[in-house]
Amino acid sequence: MIYIFTAVYCEAKPLIERFALSPDGDYPFAGFVSEDGNIRLVITGVGKTYSAAAVSYAHAKFGITKDDFAVNIGTCAGGSNTGGAYIINKVTDEDSGRSYYPDMLYKTGLREHCVTTVSDVVSEEKAALDPDMLWEMEASGFSDVARLLMPPDRVQLIKVVSDNGAEGIEAISEALLERVIRECIDDISTAVDLYLSIPADGEEQAQEDGTEDLFCCSETMRQDLNKLLVYCRNSGRDVPGIISSMRGEGLIPAADRKSGKAALNEFKRRILQ
């Protein structure tokens, strides 16, 4: 599952159309969801505080897991050497000087760049100081919260250059932001499709229903038994065979905790034979 966070509706609109998202609910941040529920989009509002709050809220509301992706997609100002869509490999917050580094594991096909998050629209003077930098207003807030909640390979950012920071805020119209995202929508959706196709990490799952009852387990015994069953699964041990012979010998089901402990020791002994 993928959670997309954009600052404003005009940035979200091309994504909403591409992924056929429908409005979803009335939580504080406007939300959209795909028919199969695999893509959610949250409009955070402008600035790092709103962006951070939206991630936190979505995490709590939707129960985002470690296998889900949180992706901040938005526009940025860039120097004259920049243009199009970038996957971000370093986010620096201008106010605190702190940096965040997403894991760059996946072949999205996008070019890479670092980005600086500023608290106000970037001025011509500032942009001129570092003509290779990308500047925007949400990435550090998004990253600050997302990195606490999710693995670094699942926190990703895609930024599209909308202007060179020289024309000032008057030049940045909603139409411009929508247009630049729309121009890169194929590149962005290739990355989104890739994220959606990455399989989830395998979860440890070995407890066989009812096995713990056979040993009249305490909580500690239950944990030991579960670890032992993981070992059996991983090493291909014949648990049903051992259980059935212990049943046949009347060792299980155990009548009480004491005989359960003895039976569990015997079970372990047979496994390690």
Binding site: D103, L105, C114, P151, D201, E203, D224, N234, S235, L272
Partner: protein, 330 residues
Amino acid sequence: MNSSGAYFNKQFSHIYVEKKAMDHDETKKILARLPHSEVILIDHYKDIFNRNKQRYNEQKRSRALILAVNGGELVYKGAPVCQSFGNPGFYYTATAMNCPFDCDYCFLKGMYGTANIVCFVNFEDYAAAVAKLDNPYICASYDTDIIGLNSITGQADKWIDFAGSHPDILIELRTKFSPARLTALPNLIYAFTLSPDEICRRFERGTPPLKARLAAVKNAVESGCVVRLCFDPMIYVSGWEGYYGELVGQVADTVGFEGIRDVSVGTFRISSQYLKTMRKQEPDSEVCWYPFDTVNGYAVYPEDIDNKMQSFMCGRLSGYIGSDKIWKWN
């Protein structure tokens, strides 16, 4: 690599470089060896290496390299679970942290929360720190496989050169790899970890197979190098006697034990704390999920199994090499 390999960037597609390491000669050499990698400047290696919630199993498919300057401790006293081979001044040092290979049982997975590899470029500081020690025995490849990484970092070469210019300092380079450079020096030990083919195949992903390791051992012996064989860690699996017995026979047949300085024998053991982390990272591992006993904070095989395995191996080896040359870990 499984079918999901198609989603991942190449190994070392990204190199994070500390600002203070950027102008270092070693950094320039390493970057020149990886010309297509994306280079990202960082303040401190821990900003990448120590991040929260990193996932070894995802990262290992596209490991990042981190180039840094180590301003902290450079040489450590040997740990009690590591063998000193009778050397009183036993130390180890880590010019690199983490390994390009992926052994199921590797303690590095328990120690570090990441698959990314740090390479400290200030070798001269390590060399100075080691040179100050009194008659030391230095293991230079504990927190990595320094020979396995040498084609990128060049650090094994540096230790070999250091050994050449410091004849009083005994250096051990431990590896599962085939060294590209073999230099015969009385104070330089090439220590090869050997495991049965079955164990290499099942639990030592990415490492050369036994046949290649035996060829490397043979090569080293024939080049006049000081060679140690490490049958450590021995891994408990069904039929282990057969596998380890065959291994000793294969060494005897292909290399022989005449040119071997000494051998080490040890069963798998690990800090219980590390084991907890490893189990999270290796949910399907037979080795990690073995129901170990805990003794003094270490997860070990039950005493009877441990004794049986070590005795068996020492028994087999003593048919070929003097027992004064066989070192057990406990």
